[in-house]
């Protein structure tokens, strides 16, 4: 199992990954509360970025409404917790299939009727917007007034009910990010992964090479939506409040895709690197501005814009393909 897991990874790559994992595992011992929340945010975006990357980077299907699955996961688990006292881990058993089902529905509509490219992207935005408006009026989940999870003073970390210190969330997200990395790698190197990349490169040729493109695109959407919804559940229990205007807002979808684009769409490590670069630098900027006593609302958004501009013009494939070549760790085929 372990041999298979690391097969084909150069030794230096393994060493670097190991060092990174060790550093991240040890980080809460040294990190301040503020740094910890930044790291949580980074891991959160690294995880979702990987999930989104399955659809866009591997299978070539651009989703601009991925926050839909975050929101569905968040609302399903949170509502079950608030109304029935059902814990998040059992809530996951409802949240993940719910997101996967909606993903399958959107995928079915689009792929069955040959909605592709930009039109597919618009469709994904539309469904996220439907959800935003729908949840605004759904009183069972608090409507536009929001859904709140009961918060009490933490005396201990309750892993089962996800009530506790941010450190707990940090380790859950770290494990999820590492697991997502392994899942993505296994998928990319499997039969499905080859067919996805063929579809991404040229769908018509893929079809005439015998690939049932509808079937494999559906698999990509369902896996991506299901993985994304897990992050939604964590979001709900970490922030303890959900507002449709925030959760389903298109800006959230954009934030999700910035990391992978900056890091390298379609690569395994790109989404993780992108999350570190973007979220890490943006938070540094915010902290630096605060320390200098400068109040600049929107500075983060401008920073994201500049980053995107730089990457798109200088490194259109993203930072990781360039960096990996520089340090001799290029992924064989991306």
């Amino acid at each position: 199992m372990i041999v298979r897991l690391i097969a084909g990874v150069p030794g230096r790559g393994l060493a670097l990954l190991g060092a990174l994992l060790a550093a991240l595992t040890a980080a809460p011992l040294f990190a301040s509360d503020y740094l910890l929340t930044v790291l949580i945010l980074i891991l959160y975006f690294a995880y979702i970025g990987q999930a989104w990357n399955i659809m866009m980077g591997f299978a070539g299907q651009l989703s601009l409404g991925h926050t839909l699955y975050v929101g569905l996961g968040a609302y399903t688990a949170a509502a079950l917790f608030v109304h029935f006292g059902i814990g998040p881990w059992i809530g996951l058993a409802a949240a993940v299939p719910a997101a996967a089902l909606i993903g399958a529905f959107i995928g079915f509509l689009a792929f069955r009727f040959r909605v592709a490219g930009v039109y597919f992207a618009i469709l994904t935005i539309a469904f996220a917007e439907f959800a935003r408006l729908g949840f605004d009026h759904l009183s069972w989940t608090g409507g536009s007034g929001g859904l709140f999870l009961p918060v009490s003073q933490f005396t201990h970390n309750d892993l089962w009910r996800l009530r506790g210190h941010p450190v707990m969330f940090y380790y859950i997200l770290l494990a999820a990010t590492a697991l997502a990395f392994l899942i993505c790698r296994a998928l990319l190197q499997s039969r499905v992964g080859y067919f996805w990349r063929a579809i991404r490169e040229d769908e018509e040729v893929a079809r005439s090479t015998g690939i049932d493109t509808f079937h494999y695109k559906m698999i990509a959407v369902v896996i991506s939506a299901a993985m994304t919804s897990f992050a939604g559940v964590m979001y709900a229990f970490y922030y303890n409040n959900l507002f449709p205007e925030q959760v389903f807002h298109i800006l959230r979808s954009i934030e999700i895709i910035l990391g992978p684009i900056v890091g390298g769409v379609g690569t395994l490590f790109g989404p993780i690197l992108g999350a570190f670069v973007l979220t890490g630098l943006a938070e540094t900027l915010t902290a630096a501005l605060a320390a200098l006593g400068i109040d600049l609302p929107g500075a983060k958004q401008v920073f994201y814009g500049i980053c995107l501009l730089l990457v798109v013009t200088a490194l259109p494939e993203g930072i990781w393909p360039w960096l990996s070549r520089r340090i001799g760790l290029a992924e064989k085929s991306q």
Partner: protein, 242 residues
């Protein structure tokens, strides 16, 4: 030998233009069959009808005893018809090896066995040493061979080759001819090719169909076709006789 592929009265119309006009022919199992004709004669459209990229407006296409006209391209490929494209379309960002693995995975569950098969095919097409290159970095002759390799890796019973010789130098053409002959002889692969390079057609084909304005104007053995007055008139020109 029995017919692997039979077309009866196959037609395709693009608005007012009749691109393929009641074309019928049979490709016998293990044979090499060539379709020739001037540009715009409907050769590629005919291929697209067989391969399922376009549905025919009329007629019947039977492959290995079953009707396949109107089926989608992926189903037709899974039944055993592989194809190449006139304007080559390898998966550009994938390596040469990965391109061929995609084809090999069609009838193989595991990537390892697909890779082993892909290596075999790559060796046969002189691409093994270039297997780690990106497909987009290959020269045109190599990309043409890669298309054949990807298609071949999916173990087709019938291979449709759309002008694989076009743009190749004479020595490269001879090499391709040799490879295709070898495949046909050793694996019994049936080949249907569209070709302008008569040198290759004459070297390969056991039967030829000539299309002109969408209609079949002649069909027969190569030696007879090149002497057919209608074919000389519409396509080959008198110099082909000398």
């Amino acid at each position: 030998m029995s017919a692997l592929l039979s077309l009866y009265g196959v037609s395709k119309r693009f608005r007012g233009l009749v691109a393929v006009d009641h074309v019928g022919f049979e490709v016998s199992e293990g044979g090499i069959f060539a379709v020739i004709g001037p540009n715009g004669a409907g050769k590629t459209t005919l291929f697209n009808l067989i391969a399922g990229m376009l549905p025919p407006d009329g007629g019947t296409i039977i492959f290995a005893g079953e009707r396949i006209d109107g089926l989608p391209a992926d189903q037709i490929c899974r039944r055993g018809i592989g194809r190449t494209f006139q304007i080559v379309r390898p998966f550009p960002a994938l390596s040469v090896e990965d391109n061929v693995i995609v084809g090999a995975l069609l009838h193989r569950r595991h990537v390892d066995s697909a890779r082993a098969h892909a290596h075999e095919v790559l060796r046969r097409l002189d691409l093994y040493d270039k297997r780690d290159r990106r497909a987009s970095a290959l020269t045109l002759p190599d990309r043409k061979r890669l298309e054949v390799a990807r298609s071949l890796a999916s173990d087709p019973k019938l291979l449709l080759l759309d002008e694989v010789m076009a743009g190749l130098r004479p020595t490269e053409t001879d090499r391709m001819v040799a490879i295709l002959r070898e495949l046909n002889r050793e694996t019994g692969l049936t080949i249907l090719l569209i070709e302008h390079v008569m040198r290759a057609v004459m070297a390969l084909a056991s039967r030829i169909l000539v299309l002109h304005h969408g209609a079949a104007i002649a069909q027969g053995m190569p030696a007879d076709i090149v002497r057919n007055p209608a074919v000389i008139d519409s396509y080959l020109g008198a110099e082909a006789l000398s």
